[in-house]
């Protein structure tokens, strides 16, 4: 492989973080990627990017995570990043019901840009603010079931379930992908391009769905 030892991986998955502004997407990512949290983090403009490598079974899975701006105005820009994503965390804030209501729109938007087999996790963040809770986990569970997504409540502040949420998404992607026996690691020609986990794009051959994009 073309990378240093610590850069070696078997799978490279692109995951997007979406949801309303201020629900804590950037802090979920910084908690997962660097174990950091900042009370007053700046708003995300356009997209921000981080990676982390995790182990799933005996495989090394590298996640390329795109954190997107929550404001409506940025959708035109951020939706370009949905392309090729094989996983998504759709985040709402358990203390702001409106952010939960908007999840439906986020899902619709996501699904219109990605492969149907994309692994989606509904994430209710800020679960530490128990006294301010406005969305019950039961309601969210029902919704997630209806939308056929996974569901978890998290607290980026208390580092609650953050690891679980991401690794669950990654292992689910792995399960779907490995079934299709696509070993990205076999194809060094694809890897160095970095952004090539185009396994879910509409015009791309989907690794998740059909597999075998490396044979072309």
């Amino acid at each position: 492989m073309a990378y240093r030892a610590d850069e070696e991986y078997d799978y490279l998955f692109k995951v997007v973080l979406i949801g309303d502004s201020g629900v804590g997407k950037s802090n979920l990512l910084s908690r997962f990627a660097r174990n950091e949290f900042s009370i007053e983090s700046k708003s995300t403009i356009g997209v921000e990017f981080a990676t982390r490598t995790v182990h799933v079974d005996d495989k090394v899975v590298k996640a390329q995570i795109w954190d997107t701006a929550g404001q409506e105005r940025y959708r035109a820009i951020t939706s370009a990043y949905y392309r090729g994503a094989v996983g998504a965390l759709v985040v709402y804030d358990v203390t702001r019901h409106a952010t939960f209501e908007n999840v439906e729109r986020w899902l619709k938007e996501l699904r219109s840009h990605t492969d149907p087999s994309i692994v989606v996790m509904l994430v209710g963040n800020k679960a530490d603010l128990r006294h301010l809770r406005a969305v019950s986990p039961e309601d969210a569970e029902v919704f997630a079931e209806k939308e056929k997504t996974f569901f978890m409540e998290t607290s980026a502040l208390e580092s609650l379930n953050v690891e679980n949420a991401f690794t669950e998404v990654l292992s689910q992607i792995y399960r779907v992908t490995s079934k299709k026996a696509l070993d990205v690691g076999d194809d060094t020609a694809v890897l160095p391009k970095g952004q090539t986990i185009n396994v879910g794009g509409k015009d791309d051959v989907s690794a998740v769905k059909k597999g075998g994009c490396c044979t072309t």
Binding site: Y3, S43, F49
Partner: protein
């Protein structure tokens, strides 16, 4: 810049020619910085003797000193603030990128003190101040002259007045100035009571959403600077943003515009407060003064954004255009870096979108922002054009480094530029090089054609 989109069949510049031009640029930049009394625009002298940019530590020291000489009043505060920031983090490798950087940042860490030693710089500096004073004392300020002077930096205590003039907010005519300002400040107060100070029941759903978005963003606006943590300032910011957004329905509030108010807040507050920014006691100011500051910020923001109307409208075409032009310009200036980025599938939108959206505020330490904005405001209507050159210059500060990075490393590097320990010296380098490239490329559109 007329050559932005390319066009023309091009003069067939072989890449060796480009290399030559690139080296020439670096030499020029250095020459420029050496004889630092510029209003940058005139000094395009070509040094005949070879100047190697990499053995510039000696020069850089002089430059930095002359800069600290140049700065007065609240800039003292900035130096100590900067020292704190440096001690709070940043890996050694970050500062290792360029030899000149090391020498200058060390130098800058030695607080204001070392300044006394360079008496030549003091003379230059007071000469500059005298020039500003002369321009400002005219019955009708000649904006072109003021722009030329301001391009290379404005003495901090003169900034509030000069920014208001450069933006066309204050009248160049001394007799009318106070009257016009008083009228505009009243007009702002009227706007606030008409649009902001109303119950939610009188707002549309969109307006309520916009207000909510603004109130989410105000507390997280430049959160690393304590001034903006002040509740009263956040409230001012909210009123400014909401009023602006309501009066500019084509764009409305777009995240990042909040950042753009902060240099104005800082500069207009500095007019009424002494000492270090960290110690400013906002609560001592009368409501009238705060209202005036707020009004000035509002109008200056409006004037600034008037020149960038389509940067914040749907899909932000103005910004997309600048990103495209940046890519083209980098291709002309530094083919290896451009090829490397392309090979790894890096898109300029992935990092430069924020650069343009927030006018680089997020990419450099805040204590350098006002200096950067002196140049912005001096550019006036040409600012969007020139931003492309500044961005190219900023990006190519790390051209050697970029060549060693893969896709992921590049995205992360460019989204978190190692500028935390930057001093005026590094910023001046970026600006001067931008100026050089602008002079070379925009006057010869074929340089931009492929």
């Amino acid at each position: 810049m007329s050559g932005g989109g390319g066009g023309g069949t091009g003069g067939g510049n072989p890449s060796s020619n480009l290399d030559w031009r690139f080296n020439q640029t670096l030499r020029n930049v250095q020459g420029l910085l050496q004889s630092r009394s510029f209003p940058g625009k005139v000094l395009l002298t070509r040094k005949s003797e070879p100047l190697n940019v990499h053995d510039s530590p000696v020069h850089s020291k002089e430059i930095t000193r002359s800069y600290s000489e140049n700065d007065r009043g609240d800039e003292h505060a900035c130096s100590s603030h900067e020292a704190e920031v440096i001690s709070s983090g940043r890996t050694a490798s970050d500062t290792n990128l360029q030899k000149p950087n090391i020498s200058t940042s060390n130098n800058a860490n030695t607080p204001p003190d070392a300044r006394g030693s360079v008496s030549g710089a003091r003379a230059t500096d007071s000469a500059r101040v005298a020039k500003f004073t002369k321009e400002l004392s005219r019955p009708a300020v000649i904006l072109e002259k003021l722009r030329e002077l301001s391009w290379s930096g404005i003495p901090p205590y003169m900034r509030p007045n000069i920014w208001r003039l450069l933006l066309g907010y204050a009248s160049p005519n001394t007799d009318r100035r106070e009257g016009v300002l008083a009228r505009k400040r009243l007009e702002y107060v009227d706007c606030v009571s008409q649009y902001y100070d109303i119950p939610d029941s009188e707002r549309s759903d969109d307006e309520i959403n916009m207000l909510r978005q603004i109130s989410v963003d105000c507390p997280r606006t430049v959160p690393d600077v304590t001034l903006f943590q002040h509740a009263q300032i956040q409230k001012s910011l909210e009123r400014i943003l909401y009023t602006w957004a309501i009066r500019h329905p084509a764009s409305g509030y777009v995240q990042g515009i909040n950042d753009l108010v902060t240099p104005f807040l800082m500069v207009f507050f500095s007019e009424h407060l002494n000492g270090s920014m960290e110690n400013w006691s906002i609560s001592d100011l009368s409501p009238q003064i705060i209202s005036n500051i707020e009004a000035d910020c509002y109008w200056c923001l409006s004037k600034l954004l008037d020149g960038m109307q389509d940067h914040y409208t749907f899909a932000q075409p103005g910004i997309q255009r600048l990103v495209f032009r940046l890519r083209e310009l980098v291709r002309r200036i530094d083919e290896p870096v451009s090829r490397h980025m392309e090979k790894h599938g890096l898109e300029f939108l992935q990092f430069a979108f924020r650069w343009f959206n927030c006018l680089l505020i997020r990419e450099i330490p805040f204590h350098l922002v006002t200096r950067l904005w002196d140049t912005y405001l001096a550019e006036g209507d040409s600012l969007p054009d020139f931003l492309v050159y500044i961005s190219a210059s900023l990006l190519l500060t790390w051209s050697d480094k970029l060549l060693k990075l893969d896709f992921q490393e590049m995205v992360m590097f460019l989204q978190h530029l190692p500028t935390l320990d930057w001093t005026h010296h590094e910023l001046e380098m970026v600006l001067s090089r931008a100026f050089m490239w602008h002079t070379m490329f925009s006057s010869c559109p074929s340089h931009l054609a492929s």
